[in-house]
Symmetry: C2
Subunit: 116 residues, 2 copies
DNA sequence: GCGATTCAATACGGCTCCGTAACGGTTTTG
DNA sequence: CAAAACCGTTACGGAGCCGTATTGAATCGC
C-alpha cells in the first residue's frame, strides 16, 4: 500500500471486505467473535477464558459463549490445562486457520484492487 | 502502506481495529449492519431497501430491520420517495458520518502503527 | 486440612435478529 | 377501472447473545 492512505480508502476497504463476506453468506461472526478469534490466532498462547476476557474488556461468560459458538463451527478448540485444571486453554484448529487465511486474502485482494 | 502487505499484517490490522472497537464498548454493529452502513455512505445514492437487499444478497426484511436498528441510533434516516411513493430512500445522518469518520481514523491509525 | 479464592460454566429473564409468509399501500398494465 | 405487480413493513415462531448472579470444581493460604 502507498504511504498515503486516505480516509475514504480505508472505509472503501472495509466496505469491500465486509460486503464480500455478507454476499458470500457463509460464516457470519459478530465483531466480538472476530476480535476473539483474531486474538487467539495472532497473539502468543496460551489463551485462557479469563485472559481473553481481560484483553477484550468483556465479562467471562461472553468469552465462554463465543467459544461455544465458534467451537461448534470448529474454528477453535478447548482443552483443560493439566498444570492447573481450573484453567481452560483455547487452541487453534485447522478450520479456524483456513477461515482466517481466506479473510486475510480477502483484505489483500481488495487492498490491491484499490491500488493501496 | 508499502506495496508488500503480508497476510499476517492484514489480519493484524483487522485484529487491532476490531479489538479497539470491542474494548471501546460503544456501538456494536454486526457485519451485516456495517456492510449496509458502508454501502449507504460509500456508494452513489439513491439507496432503496430493495436495492440494498440485492447489493448485499440478503432478503428485504434484513434491510428493514437493520435500518430500524441503525435508525434508532441515528446512523441512517428514511424518507419516502415522492416520485414513487412505494420506495423508501435511505439517507445519511450527521451521526452516521461521525461514526464512520471515527472508524476510518481507527483503520488509518492502526495501519500507521503497523508501518503499512 | 479447611476455609477462602479462583477458575470456567451455567441459570435466568430479556432483548435482538433470523427466515418465511402474509399484509397494506402504491403503481402499472391491459 | 379493475387486476396484477411491486415495494416496504409487519407477524410469527425459533435461535442466539446479552448482563448478572450463581454453581461446581480446583487450588491456594494459613
Amino acid at each position: 500500500m502507498s504511504v498515503e492512505f486516505s480516509h475514504s480508502q480505508a472505509l472503501r476497504l472495509l466496505h469491500d471486505v465486509s460486503l464480500a463476506q455478507v454476499r458470500e453468506g457463509g460464516v457470519d461472526l459478530s465483531n466480538r467473535q472476530l476480535a476473539i478469534l483474531l486474538t487467539i490466532y495472532m497473539d502468543l498462547p496460551p489463551h485462557t477464558v479469563r485472559g481473553l476476557a481481560q484483553k477484550l474488556n468483556v465479562t467471562k461468560p461472553v468469552i465462554t459463549r463465543a467459544l461455544d459458538a465458534m467451537g461448534e463451527m470448529d474454528l477453535v478448540a478447548r482443552r483443560r490445562d493439566p498444570a492447573d485444571r481450573r484453567n481452560v486453554i483455547v487452541q487453534r484448529t485447522v478450520q479456524g486457520a483456513l477461515f482466517l487465511e481466506k479473510l486475510g486474502d480477502l483484505v489483500i485482494t481488495n487492498a490491491r484492487e484499490l491500488h493501496l
